[in-house]
């Protein structure tokens, strides 16, 4: 099929960007979206131009690196897919496709379609873990975990950290991402000792990084490639409320409160 592309080009984070038009002739139906961009880039290179920069790595829908807004939708058409898992058979001959980076204040553009999502790493650093040293773990089957609990935890843990939820949200909220991480640990017995501290720290960090609040648009759930449900946001709110209320009566010890606003 023959396509036209409108692609966001931007030299670096301080430059102003603009849309540029490209022809994408002879694209096979079975090519992936990123393979289509590869083909276009090869053509640009053959003419001595600068290829379009975009992030990608696994091209299997799991690493969370690819991050394009295709025709206004993060990760493009199709439910529960990443950009790299979009196939050209979803488009029609003659289509014009608009391609932009994930846009959100906390995700500055580095070049063209490449953005900086390190804010997610910093949120995770603030408390998205269980403090357990290598070698100090008890026997794995010592604590049975009901299958349904384990399954729910797995549903939340499936988040690939791509940031589509933020890009889709009018408020650039990261609550689906944070809710997924908080839920994963809150559902498991191993996560209990640090449960309160975790949610308070992660929410504080999320606010500090400039992510907005959830006002129930549910765009995040619609674009999430890992099918994380907005239930995790409700759980996040409950966890946060419980933790902050409890902190009024029973303050966290100082060391534990570190990083909590």
């Amino acid at each position: 099929m023959n396509l036209k592309l409108k692609v966001w080009r931007q030299e670096n984070s301080s430059a102003t960007g603009r849309f540029e038009q490209y022809d994408a002739p002879g694209i096979p139906d079975d090519a992936s979206f990123l393979e289509m961009l590869d083909i276009v880039n090869e053509k640009i290179l053959e003419k001595g131009g600068d290829p379009i920069a975009f992030d990608h790595d696994c091209r299997e829908g799991i690493c969370g690196m690819c991050s394009l807004v295709i025709n206004g939708t993060p990760h493009g058409p199709g439910r529960a897919t990443t950009t790299c898992q979009v196939y050209m058979r979803h488009f029609r001959d003659g289509d014009t496709i608009t391609i932009e980076p994930f846009r959100a204040k906390p995700f500055p553009i580095l070049r063209d379609l490449v953005v900086d999502r390190s804010a997610f790493d910093r949120i995770q650093q603030s408390g998205g873990f269980i403090n357990v040293r290598s070698g100090s773990a008890p026997e794995a089957n010592a604590i049975p975990i009901p299958k349904n609990k384990a399954d729910l935890a797995m549903d939340a843990a499936a988040c690939i950290g791509c940031g589509a939820c933020v890009a889709a949200c009018p408020n650039a909220s990261a609550m689906l991402f944070v809710g997924a991480k908080v839920s994963h640990f809150a559902l498991l017995p191993q996560g209990q000792p640090e449960r309160r501290k975790r949610v308070l720290s992660m929410v504080a960090k999320m606010d500090e990084e400039g992510f907005g609040n959830c006002t129930n648009h549910y765009e995040c759930e619609a674009v999430c490639p890992a099918e994380i449900k907005v239930d995790v946001i409700s759980r996040l709110n409950r966890e946060y409320l419980a933790a902050s209320t409890l902190s009024l009566i029973e303050p966290l010890p100082n060391a534990a409160a570190e990083g909590v606003a």
Binding site: D38, A53, Q85, Y87, I130, N131, V132
Partner: protein, 647 residues
């Protein structure tokens, strides 16, 4: 165990006591002294993240590097099927010894016994560690951990988290890593690519890296360098590896004196989605776990196969007696769970015989209809739902309704930098962990054992073996002010300048594709002397053209993805030749290395233990001189060498 310069440092004593006694007999670094040592960890996959986190917990100062934008995206994330451990939760006769034995046999008796036994021993601790971190492994209704079976084993010892085991294990290791970043023990450098190793007075003392956003080239000094940079499968261009996987870190170390071991031992995975066109950028694996419930077949007759290829017949209409379930036929005791090398070759045989079913003729079926009849679609969906979804996404076909089409693809590399029992290369201070080293899988890796090895190396082995070296050196003795750093940094910058200044006519990808096709043809699933010699004579010409005719746009001081790729492909172009030389020198067939000249009358790999029961470790001697081969003789004290049979 000494062989020339290769001392494997395998400790004395009975096999099952070696590791414990080694830990006890080895020097320690006292907790208050550990802060004085700085450790560089390159890579944040299972091996790198677990090593960086654990060393930091112990008090060392760690710098960790990865090329992705976040350590959580290392290629380990893509592993699907599972991780082995000798827990024997199923009470089906598993044990540390059985896991050890299966791994040695699966590797076609080309791995080091002592390393493999240690791997099997610590496998049980890995599961404990991961569960404590909150890794949501699959569970049974009673709440205990569930298992599945993988190839090359007759017990169920594989732990899994749906089809996303690598993701969950990596997120566990990543959570340990970020905990240490927060504690200040680990400094993380994402989007930073290692481009060279710095060796001072014979010891590894640091690395030179490029910041992939600003293009800045800088040096980092340390008391030890750990390479955890994964495998080199992308030398074939098309593979199941992530696009960024590369040989650069290990190959640069090789050029600085580290020996490269068994580079020709590459694994071709039997169940991948077939190639569909020349635009294809990567191949997608369908987890081996699918062979628990899927049956592999090709039509018995070429005519039926042709009709399927032409779209005149649907595979579901092929009657039972017209189907050749070739794995079940040839290997009745392991059936569809025969090891990877054997299953891949069997698929190739069927296709070479004209019975392939994909439009290209290169494809066989993986059929779930029997399991769906027996267990119901919902059970299959629960077990492999995301894999079926991925299959449908890519091919547009519904694997529940019609059999999947699969074909072998490059997947994993058993070869890697040579290391001793302590995971130290022949360069003192340079350690190599995970897929980047050569040590545990011999000539063929069993499914679900790479994740096990990465985490074993990082969580449980390196914390005990690194101090053996550290105890012999003075911390902080070398800084980036040392002239060696300046000279390596200059070389790296110069190479970058050269790549940018050629401004020729061909793109990096076109060279990579051409190289990939050549090595797949001559050094892929089947190899022979003539083909390997041809590849060895053609690769230098391609390399020469690359350095004359490559086009890399833009500048060095910016985010420049073409430049990143060009550097990696330049290294692949050199490494490919080494791989072919190794394949040529190994005049036997074993595991994934199948030399057509050496096969049994029924087409199985024919080993030559008298001449090749060794590790081939290659030493770089310069641009214009061939590498020198060193051999580490493998001693089998616990198992006896046998012809590997899965019949």
């Amino acid at each position: 165990m000494t062989n020339g310069k290769l001392d494997s440092k395998v400790p004395p004593g009975p096999l099952e006591k070696k590791w414990q006694e080694h830990c006890f007999n080895s020097k320690l670094i006292a907790p208050n002294n550990r802060r004085r040592f700085e450790i560089i960890v390159v890579g944040s996959g299972l091996a790198g993240a677990s090593a960086a986190a654990t060393l930091s917990e112990q008090g060392y100062r760690v710098k960790c590097f990865c090329y992705q934008d976040s350590p959580r995206r290392a290629h380990s994330i893509a592993a699907q099927g599972g991780i082995n451990a000798a827990k024997n939760y199923q009470n089906d006769g598993d044990s540390v010894y059985r896991l050890f034995y299966d791994t040695i046999k699966g590797g076609d008796f080309r791995a080091r016994e002592a390393n493999v036994h240690r791997l099997a021993e610590v496998s049980v601790n890995i599961i404990d560690q991961c569960v404590a971190q909150g890794v949501p492994f699959a569970r049974e209704y009673g709440g205990l951990l569930a298992n599945r079976s993988f190839g090359g084993a007759q017990v169920s010892r594989t732990f899994y988290a749906r089809g996303q085991t690598g993701q969950q294990l990596l997120l566990g290791a990543y959570s340990a890593l970020v905990k240490e970043i927060k504690n200040g023990g680990v400094q993380m450098f994402p989007r930073t690519e290692m481009l060279d190793l710095v060796v001072v007075d014979g010891h590894a003392k640091g690395i030179v890296v490029r910041n992939m956003v600003t293009g800045e080239i800088s040096s980092h000094a340390a008391d030890a360098v750990l390479l955890c940079t994964g495998g080199y499968g992308n030398v074939f261009y098309l593979s199941t590896n992530a696009k960024g996987c590369n040989v650069t870190a290990t190959y640069r170390a090789y050029k600085r004196g580290a020996y490269f071991a068994n580079p020709c031992f590459t694994q071709i995975h039997p169940t991948c989605i077939p190639v569909s066109g020349d635009y294809q950028s990567k191949l997608t694996l369908m987890s081996e776990s699918l062979r628990n419930d899927g049956r592999v077949w090709a039509p018995k007759s070429r005519e039926t196969a042709a009709r399927i290829r032409e779209g005149k017949m649907s595979p579901v209409d092929v009657p039972e007696e017209e189907r050749d379930y070739y794995l079940e036929r040839k290997y009745p005791s392991y059936g569809n769970l025969a090891p990877r090398d054997i299953s891949s070759r069997a698929a190739k045989e069927a296709c070479d015989d004209g019975r392939g079913v994909a439009p290209t003729g290169l494809g066989v079926f993986l059929d779930f209809s029997d399991s769906i009849k027996r267990l119901g679609e919902h059970v299959i969906r629960e077990r492999y739902g995301n894999l079926f979804l991925m299959y449908e996404n890519i091919t547009g076909q519904n694997g529940y309704k019609t059999p999947m089409m699969i074909y072998p693809a490059v997947h994993y590399t058993m070869g890697g930098l040579w290391v001793d029992y302590n995971l130290m290369s022949n360069i003192p201070g340079l350690f190599v962990l995970g897929e980047a080293n050569f040590s545990d899988h011999g000539a063929n890796r069993l499914g679900a054992s790479a994740l096990m090895q990465g985490l074993a190396d990082g969580y449980f082995v390196i914390p005990h073996t690194l101090p053996v070296y550290l105890a012999t050196i003075k911390p902080g003795s070398v800084t980036v002010k040392n002239p060696e750093f300046e000279s390596v940094r200059f070389e790296v910058a110069d190479r970058t300048r050269r790549l940018l200044s050629i401004k020729g006519k061909r793109t990096v990808d076109s060279f990579h594709r051409e190289l990939g096709m050549l090595v797949w043809d001559k050094c892929g699933m089947a190899r022979d002397k003539a083909g390997l010699e041809e590849a060895i004579s053609r690769i230098p010409a391609l390399r020469e053209e690359f350095w004359k005719n490559i086009f890399v746009p833009g500048q060095g001081e910016q985010l420049n993805q073409s430049l990143e790729k060009a550097g990696r492909v330049a290294d692949f172009l050199e490494f490919a030749e080494l791989m072919c030389r190794d394949a040529l020198a190994r005049e036997e067939s074993c595991g994934g290395h199948f030399r057509t000249e050496y096969q049994t009358p029924d087409g199985e790999a024919l080993r030559d233990d008298d001449h090749f029961a060794h590790v081939s470790a290659w030493e770089y001697t310069g641009e214009d001189t061939p590498p020198v081969l060193h051999k580490e003789q493998l001693k089998f004290e616990s198992v006896s060498l046998q012809t590997r049979s899965y019949k």
